[in-house]
Symmetry: C2
Subunit: 217 residues, 2 copies
């Protein structure tokens, strides 16, 4: 059976790798699984056929035979459970790696995403300029705590895991704001993630996908 994921027909970031399909591509590259990508337009994303796969009308989705999943966290957890390479075998270490996945998605990503929401959905509002520093401060607070925990380690808990894959992916979304680079340990942590061959393949694949000429049809 072939694993098929969905991605934006054209990512709003133009191929910076910040859309959530990149993290799924990365996970599949880490475990050495081939996959196909089905592009979804913004119109198709809200249509019944896609909503049947993803009730919130987003990307990515994951299809493998009869199984349909959505949510990048759930997809990467599934990949990490099916194939070796992304989760430790020791039970406690495994539970801690999974903890970092949830921390990335529920504690670190929401304030980072608020920056994009404030920019793209409230950028024209009279409060936009005055409010941005408040949001940035919330992101800084989280990153300061994360940096303190990481310390001088390479990864969050021993060997590289799905927890690091998710945290690096989430932190990448704070780089356009300039905030990431104010935390040298975290910037170096993200750079270590980006240097992995699997990440490089995933990044190149999404870039090619997002910059390919439109199909004639």
């Amino acid at each position: 059976m072939t694993i098929t994921i969905t991605a934006f027909e054209r990512s709003p970031d133009g191929g910076m790798g910040l859309a959530r399909d990149t993290r799924v591509r990365w996970a599949l590259e880490e475990v050495g699984q081939p996959y196909e990508v089905r592009p979804v337009s913004f119109t198709a994303m809200k249509a019944p056929a896609h909503l049947a796969l993803h009730p919130f009308g987003q990307i990515p989705t994951y299809e493998d035979g009869d199984l349909v999943l959505f949510e990048s966290g759930a997809i990467i957890f599934h990949i990490a459970s099916q194939f070796a390479g992304l989760l430790p075998t020791d039970a406690n270490a495994r539970a801690r790696a999974i903890t970092w996945m949830f921390a990335a998605l529920n504690t670190v990503e929401p304030p980072i995403l608020e920056i994009a929401i404030a920019k793209f959905q409230e950028g024209d509002k009279p409060w936009s300029k005055e409010r941005m520093p408040l949001i940035a401060e919330r992101v800084r607070n989280r990153l300061a705590q994360l940096s303190a925990r990481l310390g001088d380690d390479d990864w969050l808990d021993g060997e590289f895991s799905a927890g690091d894959l998710m945290m690096v992916s989430v932190l990448l979304r704070s780089r356009p704001s300039g905030i990431l680079n104010d935390f040298p340990r975290l910037a170096a942590y993200v750079a270590r993630g980006e240097a992995r061959p699997a990440y490089q393949r995933a990044f190149a694949a999404q870039l090619a996908f997002n910059t390919a000429p439109p199909l004639a049809n």
Copy 2:
């Protein structure tokens, strides 16, 4: 070994059950595991001893022998993995139940939590009143999609699972705003969750904990 979780010494909601220890208590009640609760004050939460358990200085944490976990999602996933009753045995159904856990935490909870952030951290700002309907609209969009997917089913995917436990817990946080009751199917879904004996025990335990007289010391 005894399972020990942490909770607010006094929850800011005064015992409404919206703090994240309640969902962990609920999971432990569903699987029939006893547990102890260690209260943490707002001061202690940001001190080194607690930060060693929870790098973001929050509750709940989970301790069982040598294992220390944080993040309610990770804790509930761990409980559901260790003990029967919260995840299906069929592999695909299990992956879908886990998907709903991630959807609750990464897609549904963030906009709901924004309402509280706007109220408690930006309630004194000049834009507070004008901005609130924008945030509420984002919550409504998500809940409309979720309600469409749930339809007339009792639970999100077959039998009650950790995915429902998490989604109900997250939706409960939208009730004070009045938004939940605008979606009758979701309000009934939440009520089904609240009617479960395990939820009732968890709710009663957190209420007793949050309304007990302070310890003399």
